[in-house]
Protein backbone atom coordinates (compact mmCIF):
# COMPACT_ATOMS: atom_id res chain seq x y z
CA UNK A 1 0.00 0.00 0.00
CA UNK A 2 1.29 3.43 -0.95
CA UNK A 3 1.12 6.12 1.69
CA UNK A 4 3.45 8.73 0.19
CA UNK A 5 3.38 12.05 1.96
CA UNK A 6 0.42 10.83 3.97
CA UNK A 7 2.80 8.76 6.05
CA UNK A 8 4.41 11.94 7.40
CA UNK A 9 1.06 13.51 8.18
CA UNK A 10 -0.25 10.35 9.80
CA UNK A 11 2.95 9.87 11.77
CA UNK A 12 3.07 13.27 13.43
CA UNK A 13 -0.64 14.00 13.37
CA UNK A 14 -1.49 10.57 14.68
CA UNK A 15 1.17 10.82 17.32
CA UNK A 16 -0.17 14.18 18.44
CA UNK A 17 -3.74 12.91 18.46
CA UNK A 18 -2.80 9.77 20.34
CA UNK A 19 -0.72 11.57 22.95
CA UNK A 20 -3.24 14.38 23.31
CA UNK A 21 -6.03 11.88 23.80
CA UNK A 22 -3.87 9.91 26.20
CA UNK A 23 -3.15 12.98 28.27
CA UNK A 24 -6.80 13.99 28.32
CA UNK A 25 -7.72 10.50 29.44
CA UNK A 26 -4.95 10.46 32.04
CA UNK A 27 -5.99 13.81 33.48
CA UNK A 28 -9.44 12.32 34.11
CA UNK A 29 -8.24 8.94 35.24
CA UNK A 30 -5.46 10.20 37.47
CA UNK A 31 -7.30 13.26 38.65
CA UNK A 32 -6.35 14.16 42.20
CA UNK A 33 -9.18 15.56 44.26
CA UNK A 34 -8.11 18.84 45.80
CA UNK A 35 -10.48 20.65 48.11
CA UNK A 36 -11.72 23.56 45.98
CA UNK A 37 -11.52 25.76 49.06
CA UNK A 38 -7.72 25.47 48.98
CA UNK A 39 -7.58 27.16 45.62
CA UNK A 40 -10.05 29.84 46.62
CA UNK A 41 -8.06 30.63 49.76
CA UNK A 42 -4.83 30.83 47.76
CA UNK A 43 -6.56 33.38 45.55
CA UNK A 44 -7.35 35.74 48.42
CA UNK A 45 -3.96 35.45 50.11
CA UNK A 46 -1.30 38.08 49.37
CA UNK A 47 0.77 35.54 47.44
CA UNK A 48 4.15 36.72 48.64
CA UNK A 49 4.99 33.22 49.94
CA UNK A 50 6.71 34.94 52.85
CA UNK A 51 6.31 32.06 55.27
CA UNK A 52 5.28 34.30 58.17
CA UNK A 53 2.60 31.74 59.08
CA UNK A 54 5.23 29.03 59.43
CA UNK A 55 4.04 27.12 56.37
CA UNK A 56 5.94 26.84 53.09
CA UNK A 57 4.23 29.50 51.04
CA UNK A 58 0.64 30.61 50.67
CA UNK A 59 -0.53 27.27 49.27
CA UNK A 60 0.79 25.62 52.43
CA UNK A 61 -1.24 27.97 54.59
CA UNK A 62 -4.37 27.40 52.51
CA UNK A 63 -4.01 23.65 52.92
CA UNK A 64 -3.42 23.98 56.67
CA UNK A 65 -6.46 26.21 57.09
CA UNK A 66 -8.66 23.76 55.19
CA UNK A 67 -7.29 20.89 57.29
CA UNK A 68 -8.07 22.84 60.41
CA UNK A 69 -4.44 23.15 61.52
CA UNK A 70 -4.43 26.93 61.37
CA UNK A 71 -6.96 29.65 62.08
CA UNK A 72 -8.43 31.70 59.28
CA UNK A 73 -6.51 34.67 60.64
CA UNK A 74 -3.14 32.89 60.34
CA UNK A 75 -1.91 35.18 57.56
CA UNK A 76 -0.47 38.18 59.42
CA UNK A 77 0.71 40.06 56.33
CA UNK A 78 -2.77 39.86 54.83
CA UNK A 79 -4.22 41.48 57.92
CA UNK A 80 -7.84 41.64 58.93
CA UNK A 81 -9.08 41.98 55.36
CA UNK A 82 -7.56 38.68 54.24
CA UNK A 83 -8.61 36.96 57.44
CA UNK A 84 -12.18 37.99 56.78
CA UNK A 85 -12.09 36.65 53.22
CA UNK A 86 -10.50 33.39 54.30
CA UNK A 87 -13.06 33.14 57.08
CA UNK A 88 -15.86 33.67 54.59
CA UNK A 89 -14.55 30.80 52.44
CA UNK A 90 -14.23 28.55 55.47
CA UNK A 91 -17.58 29.69 56.82
CA UNK A 92 -16.21 30.75 60.18
CA UNK A 93 -16.36 34.01 62.07
CA UNK A 94 -13.03 35.71 62.49
CA UNK A 95 -11.94 37.73 65.45
CA UNK A 96 -10.56 40.96 64.14
CA UNK A 97 -6.93 41.20 64.92
CA UNK A 98 -4.61 44.07 65.50
CA UNK A 99 -2.71 45.18 62.43
CA UNK A 100 1.00 45.40 63.19
CA UNK A 101 3.96 47.21 61.63
CA UNK A 102 7.67 46.85 62.23
CA UNK A 103 9.73 49.57 63.89
CA UNK A 104 13.47 49.99 64.40
CA UNK A 105 14.20 50.12 68.13
CA UNK A 106 17.57 51.84 67.84
CA UNK A 107 18.53 55.37 66.92
CA UNK A 108 22.25 54.87 67.40
CA UNK A 109 23.54 56.19 64.10
CA UNK A 110 27.31 56.83 63.96
CA UNK A 111 26.64 60.43 65.09
CA UNK A 112 25.12 59.21 68.34
CA UNK A 113 26.96 55.98 68.99
CA UNK A 114 30.57 55.65 67.91
CA UNK A 115 32.30 52.45 66.80
CA UNK A 116 34.58 50.67 69.23
CA UNK A 117 36.77 49.24 66.50
CA UNK A 118 36.82 48.89 62.76
CA UNK A 119 35.13 45.70 61.59
CA UNK A 120 36.38 44.21 58.35
CA UNK A 121 34.97 40.71 58.51
CA UNK A 122 32.11 39.11 56.64
CA UNK A 123 29.57 41.88 56.05
CA UNK A 124 26.50 40.81 57.99
CA UNK A 125 24.87 41.57 61.33
CA UNK A 126 25.03 37.96 62.54
CA UNK A 127 28.71 37.64 61.64
CA UNK A 128 29.60 41.02 63.15
CA UNK A 129 27.80 40.15 66.40
CA UNK A 130 30.05 37.13 66.79
CA UNK A 131 33.14 39.34 66.87
CA UNK A 132 33.26 40.83 70.36
CA UNK A 133 29.51 41.50 70.28
CA UNK A 134 29.71 43.92 67.37
CA UNK A 135 31.82 46.91 66.51
CA UNK A 136 29.40 49.46 67.98
CA UNK A 137 30.24 50.88 71.38
CA UNK A 138 26.69 49.92 72.39
CA UNK A 139 26.60 46.14 72.69
CA UNK A 140 22.87 46.13 71.93
CA UNK A 141 22.59 48.65 69.11
CA UNK A 142 21.97 48.20 65.41
CA UNK A 143 25.07 47.19 63.43
CA UNK A 144 23.63 48.48 60.19
CA UNK A 145 24.39 45.65 57.76
CA UNK A 146 20.72 45.40 56.92
CA UNK A 147 19.96 41.72 57.39
CA UNK A 148 16.43 42.85 58.23
CA UNK A 149 16.18 44.74 54.94
CA UNK A 150 17.29 41.64 53.03
CA UNK A 151 14.73 39.55 54.90
CA UNK A 152 11.81 41.82 54.05
CA UNK A 153 9.67 40.05 51.44
CA UNK A 154 7.61 43.16 50.71
CA UNK A 155 10.32 45.68 49.84
CA UNK A 156 9.11 47.74 52.77
CA UNK A 157 12.53 48.46 54.24
CA UNK A 158 15.68 50.29 53.26
CA UNK A 159 18.90 51.31 54.93
CA UNK A 160 18.95 55.00 55.80
CA UNK A 161 21.99 57.22 55.32
CA UNK A 162 22.43 57.00 59.10
CA UNK A 163 23.10 53.24 58.75
CA UNK A 164 19.83 52.36 60.42
CA UNK A 165 17.03 50.38 58.77
CA UNK A 166 13.89 52.31 57.92
CA UNK A 167 10.41 50.84 57.55
CA UNK A 168 8.01 52.17 54.93
CA UNK A 169 4.81 51.99 56.95
CA UNK A 170 2.50 51.86 53.97
CA UNK A 171 4.21 48.75 52.60
CA UNK A 172 4.89 46.95 55.88
CA UNK A 173 2.50 44.10 56.51
CA UNK A 174 3.75 43.16 59.96
CA UNK A 175 4.89 39.72 58.87
CA UNK A 176 7.73 39.83 61.40
CA UNK A 177 10.45 38.53 59.06
CA UNK A 178 12.76 41.40 60.01
CA UNK A 179 12.17 40.73 63.70
CA UNK A 180 13.30 37.16 63.14
CA UNK A 181 16.26 38.17 60.98
CA UNK A 182 17.77 40.65 63.43
CA UNK A 183 20.34 38.90 65.62
CA UNK A 184 20.12 41.71 68.17
CA UNK A 185 16.33 41.92 68.55
CA UNK A 186 16.21 45.50 67.38
CA UNK A 187 13.23 45.17 65.08
CA UNK A 188 9.89 44.99 66.87
CA UNK A 189 6.24 44.87 65.89
CA UNK A 190 3.89 47.55 67.19
CA UNK A 191 0.23 48.13 66.34
CA UNK A 192 -0.18 50.22 63.21
CA UNK A 193 -2.08 52.82 65.20
CA UNK A 194 0.72 53.18 67.75
CA UNK A 195 2.15 56.68 67.78
CA UNK A 196 5.09 56.46 70.17
CA UNK A 197 7.51 53.61 70.75
CA UNK A 198 10.76 53.11 72.61
CA UNK A 199 13.65 53.23 70.14
CA UNK A 200 16.33 51.63 72.29
CA UNK A 201 16.96 48.09 73.51
CA UNK A 202 19.87 48.75 75.88
CA UNK A 203 18.87 47.37 79.31
CA UNK A 204 21.69 49.13 81.14
CA UNK A 205 21.20 52.10 83.38
CA UNK A 206 22.20 55.76 83.33
CA UNK A 207 25.92 56.19 83.05
CA UNK A 208 26.62 52.92 81.25
CA UNK A 209 24.22 53.88 78.47
CA UNK A 210 25.34 57.51 78.42
CA UNK A 211 28.92 56.39 77.97
CA UNK A 212 28.20 54.57 74.70
CA UNK A 213 25.30 56.39 73.09
CA UNK A 214 23.82 59.84 73.59
CA UNK A 215 20.37 58.86 72.37
CA UNK A 216 19.96 55.60 74.32
CA UNK A 217 17.42 55.03 77.06
CA UNK A 218 18.98 55.50 80.49
CA UNK A 219 16.00 54.05 82.31
CA UNK A 220 15.28 57.35 84.07
CA UNK A 221 11.52 56.53 84.30
CA UNK A 222 10.50 60.11 83.47
CA UNK A 223 8.24 58.92 80.66
CA UNK A 224 6.49 56.41 82.93
CA UNK A 225 5.84 59.10 85.53
CA UNK A 226 2.06 59.63 85.88
CA UNK A 227 2.70 63.37 85.75
CA UNK A 228 3.84 63.00 82.17
CA UNK A 229 1.68 60.06 81.11
CA UNK A 230 -1.48 60.15 83.21
CA UNK A 231 -3.11 57.34 81.23
CA UNK A 232 -0.59 54.84 82.61
CA UNK A 233 0.23 53.66 79.10
CA UNK A 234 3.96 53.58 79.82
CA UNK A 235 5.37 51.28 82.52
CA UNK A 236 8.99 50.46 83.20
CA UNK A 237 9.87 46.80 82.66
CA UNK A 238 12.60 44.71 84.26
CA UNK A 239 15.01 45.65 81.48
CA UNK A 240 15.09 49.29 82.56
CA UNK A 241 13.15 50.21 79.48
CA UNK A 242 9.71 51.77 79.21
CA UNK A 243 7.04 49.40 77.95
CA UNK A 244 3.97 50.58 76.10
CA UNK A 245 0.54 49.16 76.74
CA UNK A 246 -0.97 49.75 73.32
CA UNK A 247 -4.38 48.55 74.46
CA UNK A 248 -4.68 51.95 76.16
CA UNK A 249 -5.64 54.49 73.55
CA UNK A 250 -3.31 57.33 74.34
CA UNK A 251 -0.80 59.52 72.58
CA UNK A 252 1.96 60.13 75.15
CA UNK A 253 3.63 62.95 73.22
CA UNK A 254 4.44 64.71 76.49
CA UNK A 255 6.61 61.77 77.49
CA UNK A 256 8.53 62.12 74.23
CA UNK A 257 9.15 65.75 75.04
CA UNK A 258 10.16 65.01 78.63
CA UNK A 259 12.59 62.24 77.65
CA UNK A 260 16.04 63.71 78.38
CA UNK A 261 17.82 61.54 75.81
CA UNK A 262 15.28 61.47 73.00
CA UNK A 263 15.06 57.70 72.99
CA UNK A 264 11.30 57.68 72.47
CA UNK A 265 10.46 57.80 68.80
CA UNK A 266 7.42 59.53 67.39
CA UNK A 267 5.98 57.55 64.47
CA UNK A 268 3.77 60.38 63.33
CA UNK A 269 6.26 63.22 63.85
CA UNK A 270 5.37 64.72 60.45
CA UNK A 271 1.66 64.77 61.20
CA UNK A 272 1.79 66.54 64.54
CA UNK A 273 -0.49 69.58 64.69
CA UNK A 274 0.48 73.01 65.97
CA UNK A 275 -1.84 74.98 68.25
CA UNK A 276 -2.22 78.72 68.19
CA UNK A 277 -4.05 81.37 70.22
CA UNK A 278 -6.41 83.74 68.52
CA UNK A 279 -5.24 87.23 69.37
CA UNK A 280 -8.71 88.73 69.36
CA UNK A 281 -10.23 86.09 71.66
CA UNK A 282 -7.47 85.77 74.25
CA UNK A 283 -8.22 87.67 77.44
CA UNK A 284 -5.00 86.78 79.16
CA UNK A 285 -6.40 84.24 81.63
CA UNK A 286 -3.15 82.28 81.53
CA UNK A 287 -4.70 78.84 82.11
CA UNK A 288 -2.91 77.54 79.06
CA UNK A 289 0.53 78.42 80.32
CA UNK A 290 -0.15 76.48 83.52
CA UNK A 291 -0.87 73.22 81.73
CA UNK A 292 1.69 73.50 78.94
CA UNK A 293 4.40 70.87 79.46
CA UNK A 294 6.92 72.69 77.29
CA UNK A 295 9.07 75.38 78.80
CA UNK A 296 8.93 78.62 76.87
CA UNK A 297 6.21 77.44 74.48
CA UNK A 298 3.41 79.64 75.79
CA UNK A 299 4.48 83.12 76.84
CA UNK A 300 2.72 86.28 77.90
CA UNK A 301 3.18 89.24 75.67
CA UNK A 302 3.57 92.79 76.90
CA UNK A 303 -0.13 93.52 76.28
CA UNK A 304 -1.14 90.70 78.65
CA UNK A 305 -2.24 88.26 75.94
CA UNK A 306 -0.61 84.87 75.49
CA UNK A 307 1.14 83.47 72.45
CA UNK A 308 2.19 79.93 71.45
CA UNK A 309 5.59 79.65 69.83
CA UNK A 310 4.90 77.40 66.88
CA UNK A 311 8.48 76.10 66.78
CA UNK A 312 8.17 74.88 70.35
CA UNK A 313 4.62 73.49 70.28
CA UNK A 314 4.70 69.67 70.37
CA UNK A 315 1.01 69.39 69.56
CA UNK A 316 -0.07 67.76 72.80
CA UNK A 317 -3.31 69.75 72.83
CA UNK A 318 -3.45 70.10 76.62
CA UNK A 319 -3.99 73.85 76.42
CA UNK A 320 -7.04 73.82 74.18
CA UNK A 321 -9.71 72.48 76.59
CA UNK A 322 -8.58 74.62 79.54
CA UNK A 323 -8.87 77.96 77.78
CA UNK A 324 -11.90 79.80 79.24
CA UNK A 325 -12.15 81.99 76.12
CA UNK A 326 -11.97 79.14 73.63
CA UNK A 327 -9.23 81.13 71.95
CA UNK A 328 -7.00 78.14 71.13
CA UNK A 329 -7.36 76.24 67.87
CA UNK A 330 -5.37 73.73 65.93
CA UNK A 331 -3.49 74.04 62.70
CA UNK A 332 -2.83 71.01 60.54
CA UNK A 333 -3.75 67.37 61.21
CA UNK A 334 -7.47 67.81 61.65
CA UNK A 335 -7.92 64.46 63.29
CA UNK A 336 -6.27 65.82 66.37
CA UNK A 337 -9.02 68.33 67.05
CA UNK A 338 -11.15 65.51 68.38
CA UNK A 339 -8.31 64.14 70.41
CA UNK A 340 -7.79 67.48 72.10
CA UNK A 341 -11.47 67.98 72.84
Amino acid sequence: MEFGILSAIISVGGLGLLLGGGLAFASKKFHVEIDPRVERIVDVLPGANCGACGKPGCAGLALAVVNGELEASACTPGGAETAEKVGAIMGTEVETMEEMVAVTCCQGSPDHCADRFEYEGVPGCTAATLVGNGHKSCEFGCLGFGECVDACPFDAMYMGKDRLPKVIDARCTGCGKCVEACPRDIMALVPRKAKIYIACVNPNRGKTVKGVCDIGCTGCTLCANPKNTPSGMIKMNDKNLPEFDYSIDDDPIVAVHKCPTGSLADKIANERPVFFISESKCTGAGECKKVCPVKGCIEQREDGKYIIHADKCIGCGLCEPVCPDKAISVMGALGHQKLAG
Partner: protein
Protein backbone atom coordinates in the same frame (compact mmCIF):
# COMPACT_ATOMS: atom_id res chain seq x y z
CA UNK B 1 25.32 -8.26 25.39
CA UNK B 2 28.63 -6.53 25.61
CA UNK B 3 28.93 -5.02 29.07
CA UNK B 4 32.22 -3.29 28.44
CA UNK B 5 30.49 -1.37 25.70
CA UNK B 6 27.89 -0.15 28.20
CA UNK B 7 30.64 0.85 30.61
CA UNK B 8 32.23 2.95 27.89
CA UNK B 9 28.89 4.68 27.36
CA UNK B 10 28.44 5.31 31.09
CA UNK B 11 31.92 6.75 31.67
CA UNK B 12 31.71 8.67 28.42
CA UNK B 13 28.41 10.34 29.23
CA UNK B 14 29.17 11.12 32.86
CA UNK B 15 32.74 12.35 32.61
CA UNK B 16 34.20 12.67 29.15
CA UNK B 17 31.22 14.08 27.31
CA UNK B 18 29.43 15.52 30.31
CA UNK B 19 26.23 17.09 29.02
CA UNK B 20 26.69 20.39 30.79
CA UNK B 21 30.44 20.82 30.95
CA UNK B 22 31.57 19.29 27.67
CA UNK B 23 28.54 19.42 25.38
CA UNK B 24 27.15 22.66 26.90
CA UNK B 25 23.57 21.43 26.90
CA UNK B 26 21.09 22.28 29.64
CA UNK B 27 22.91 25.43 30.75
CA UNK B 28 19.62 27.09 31.75
CA UNK B 29 18.77 24.80 34.68
CA UNK B 30 22.48 24.48 35.41
CA UNK B 31 22.67 28.19 36.24
CA UNK B 32 19.08 28.61 37.39
CA UNK B 33 18.61 25.73 39.84
CA UNK B 34 22.13 25.56 41.25
CA UNK B 35 21.67 28.06 44.07
CA UNK B 36 20.69 25.51 46.69
CA UNK B 37 21.97 22.01 47.17
CA UNK B 38 18.57 20.45 47.98
CA UNK B 39 16.85 21.80 44.91
CA UNK B 40 19.88 20.88 42.79
CA UNK B 41 19.58 17.27 43.94
CA UNK B 42 15.82 17.29 43.30
CA UNK B 43 16.35 18.71 39.84
CA UNK B 44 19.10 16.18 39.14
CA UNK B 45 16.85 13.27 40.06
CA UNK B 46 14.10 14.63 37.85
CA UNK B 47 16.54 14.98 34.94
CA UNK B 48 17.81 11.39 35.32
CA UNK B 49 14.23 10.20 35.34
CA UNK B 50 13.12 12.23 32.33
CA UNK B 51 16.24 11.43 30.29
CA UNK B 52 15.74 7.72 30.82
CA UNK B 53 12.10 7.89 29.78
CA UNK B 54 12.94 10.16 26.84
CA UNK B 55 15.67 7.79 25.62
CA UNK B 56 13.26 4.87 25.61
CA UNK B 57 10.38 6.68 23.97
CA UNK B 58 12.42 8.43 21.32
CA UNK B 59 14.23 5.21 20.35
CA UNK B 60 10.93 3.41 19.83
CA UNK B 61 9.44 6.32 17.87
CA UNK B 62 12.51 6.71 15.72
CA UNK B 63 12.93 3.10 14.71
CA UNK B 64 9.26 2.13 14.36
CA UNK B 65 7.88 5.32 12.89
CA UNK B 66 10.61 7.32 11.20
CA UNK B 67 13.56 5.19 10.14
CA UNK B 68 13.31 4.21 6.44
CA UNK B 69 14.47 0.62 6.89
CA UNK B 70 12.52 -0.40 9.96
CA UNK B 71 9.40 1.77 10.08
CA UNK B 72 5.88 0.57 9.53
CA UNK B 73 5.45 2.65 6.36
CA UNK B 74 7.76 0.41 4.40
CA UNK B 75 10.59 2.47 3.04
CA UNK B 76 9.57 6.09 3.46
CA UNK B 77 12.30 8.18 5.07
CA UNK B 78 10.63 10.28 7.73
CA UNK B 79 13.77 11.04 9.72
CA UNK B 80 13.40 14.73 8.92
CA UNK B 81 10.52 14.70 11.44
CA UNK B 82 12.88 13.58 14.16
CA UNK B 83 13.04 16.81 16.22
CA UNK B 84 9.33 17.58 16.14
CA UNK B 85 8.35 13.99 16.90
CA UNK B 86 10.81 13.73 19.80
CA UNK B 87 9.66 16.98 21.38
CA UNK B 88 6.05 15.89 21.06
CA UNK B 89 6.65 12.51 22.62
CA UNK B 90 8.97 13.64 25.40
CA UNK B 91 6.76 16.55 26.46
CA UNK B 92 3.57 14.53 26.62
CA UNK B 93 5.25 11.57 28.26
CA UNK B 94 6.65 13.74 31.04
CA UNK B 95 3.24 15.31 31.55
CA UNK B 96 1.71 11.89 31.71
CA UNK B 97 4.27 10.61 34.20
CA UNK B 98 3.75 13.72 36.30
CA UNK B 99 0.03 12.98 36.52
CA UNK B 100 0.63 9.34 37.37
CA UNK B 101 3.05 10.00 40.20
CA UNK B 102 0.85 12.76 41.56
CA UNK B 103 -1.88 10.17 41.90
CA UNK B 104 0.13 7.16 42.97
CA UNK B 105 3.16 8.53 44.84
CA UNK B 106 2.43 11.93 46.41
CA UNK B 107 5.72 11.92 48.32
CA UNK B 108 7.73 11.45 45.15
CA UNK B 109 5.59 14.10 43.47
CA UNK B 110 6.32 16.61 46.22
CA UNK B 111 10.07 16.16 45.79
CA UNK B 112 10.21 15.90 41.99
CA UNK B 113 6.93 17.43 40.87
CA UNK B 114 7.92 21.06 40.59
CA UNK B 115 10.97 20.22 38.48
CA UNK B 116 9.28 17.94 35.98
CA UNK B 117 7.46 20.59 33.92
CA UNK B 118 10.67 22.65 33.88
CA UNK B 119 12.58 20.09 31.87
CA UNK B 120 9.94 18.64 29.54
CA UNK B 121 11.45 20.28 26.50
CA UNK B 122 14.89 21.05 27.87
CA UNK B 123 17.69 20.92 25.30
CA UNK B 124 19.69 18.39 27.32
CA UNK B 125 16.74 16.01 27.29
CA UNK B 126 16.20 16.45 23.56
CA UNK B 127 19.96 16.24 23.19
CA UNK B 128 20.20 12.79 24.74
CA UNK B 129 17.44 11.52 22.47
CA UNK B 130 19.08 12.87 19.34
CA UNK B 131 22.55 11.68 20.34
CA UNK B 132 21.27 8.15 20.94
CA UNK B 133 20.16 8.07 17.33
CA UNK B 134 23.31 9.71 15.97
CA UNK B 135 25.50 7.16 17.77
CA UNK B 136 23.38 4.28 16.45
CA UNK B 137 22.80 2.95 19.95
CA UNK B 138 20.64 -0.11 20.52
CA UNK B 139 17.59 0.12 22.78
CA UNK B 140 19.51 -0.98 25.89
CA UNK B 141 22.43 1.28 25.06
CA UNK B 142 20.04 4.19 24.66
CA UNK B 143 18.55 3.65 28.10
CA UNK B 144 21.99 3.34 29.69
CA UNK B 145 23.12 6.47 27.91
CA UNK B 146 20.02 8.30 29.13
CA UNK B 147 20.67 7.34 32.74
CA UNK B 148 24.38 8.16 32.47
CA UNK B 149 23.69 11.53 30.87
CA UNK B 150 21.29 12.34 33.68
CA UNK B 151 23.84 11.29 36.29
CA UNK B 152 26.45 13.46 34.57
CA UNK B 153 24.07 16.40 34.59
CA UNK B 154 23.28 15.80 38.28
CA UNK B 155 26.97 15.59 39.09
CA UNK B 156 27.69 18.93 37.44
CA UNK B 157 24.62 20.53 39.01
CA UNK B 158 25.36 19.30 42.54
CA UNK B 159 29.03 20.33 42.31
CA UNK B 160 27.97 23.74 41.10
CA UNK B 161 25.35 24.13 43.85
CA UNK B 162 27.92 23.17 46.49
CA UNK B 163 30.35 25.76 45.19
CA UNK B 164 27.67 28.42 44.90
CA UNK B 165 26.56 27.86 48.48
CA UNK B 166 30.16 28.54 49.51
CA UNK B 167 30.34 31.54 47.20
CA UNK B 168 27.42 33.14 49.07
CA UNK B 169 29.80 33.73 51.97
CA UNK B 170 32.78 34.79 49.91
CA UNK B 171 33.83 38.38 49.45
CA UNK B 172 33.16 38.85 45.74
CA UNK B 173 33.67 42.14 43.88
CA UNK B 174 30.33 43.83 43.48
CA UNK B 175 30.29 43.68 39.68
CA UNK B 176 30.74 39.90 39.75
CA UNK B 177 28.20 39.02 42.42
CA UNK B 178 25.45 36.54 41.54
CA UNK B 179 25.27 35.12 38.04
CA UNK B 180 28.56 36.56 36.65
CA UNK B 181 30.68 34.67 39.17
CA UNK B 182 28.55 31.58 38.52
CA UNK B 183 29.45 31.78 34.82
CA UNK B 184 33.14 32.09 35.67
CA UNK B 185 32.77 29.08 37.96
CA UNK B 186 31.04 27.14 35.20
CA UNK B 187 33.87 27.94 32.83
CA UNK B 188 36.50 26.78 35.32
CA UNK B 189 34.57 23.57 35.93
CA UNK B 190 34.33 22.95 32.19
CA UNK B 191 38.09 23.35 31.90
CA UNK B 192 38.55 20.92 34.76
CA UNK B 193 36.25 18.39 33.10
CA UNK B 194 38.21 18.76 29.88
CA UNK B 195 40.90 16.79 31.71
CA UNK B 196 38.68 13.71 31.38
CA UNK B 197 38.89 13.85 27.60
CA UNK B 198 42.31 12.23 27.95
CA UNK B 199 40.68 9.27 29.68
CA UNK B 200 40.96 6.04 27.68
CA UNK B 201 38.20 3.50 28.24
CA UNK B 202 37.39 0.26 26.48
Amino acid sequence: MDFSNLLVIVVGSILINNFVLARFLGICPYIGVSKKLDSAIGMGMAVIFVMTIASMASWIIYYYLLHPETNIWGGYDLTFLRTIAFILVIASLVQFVEMVIQKTAPALYNSLGIFLPLITTNCAVLGVAVLNIDENYTFIESIVNGIAAGVGFTLALVLMAGIRERLELANIPKALQGVPIAFIMAGLMAIAFLGFSGLKVG
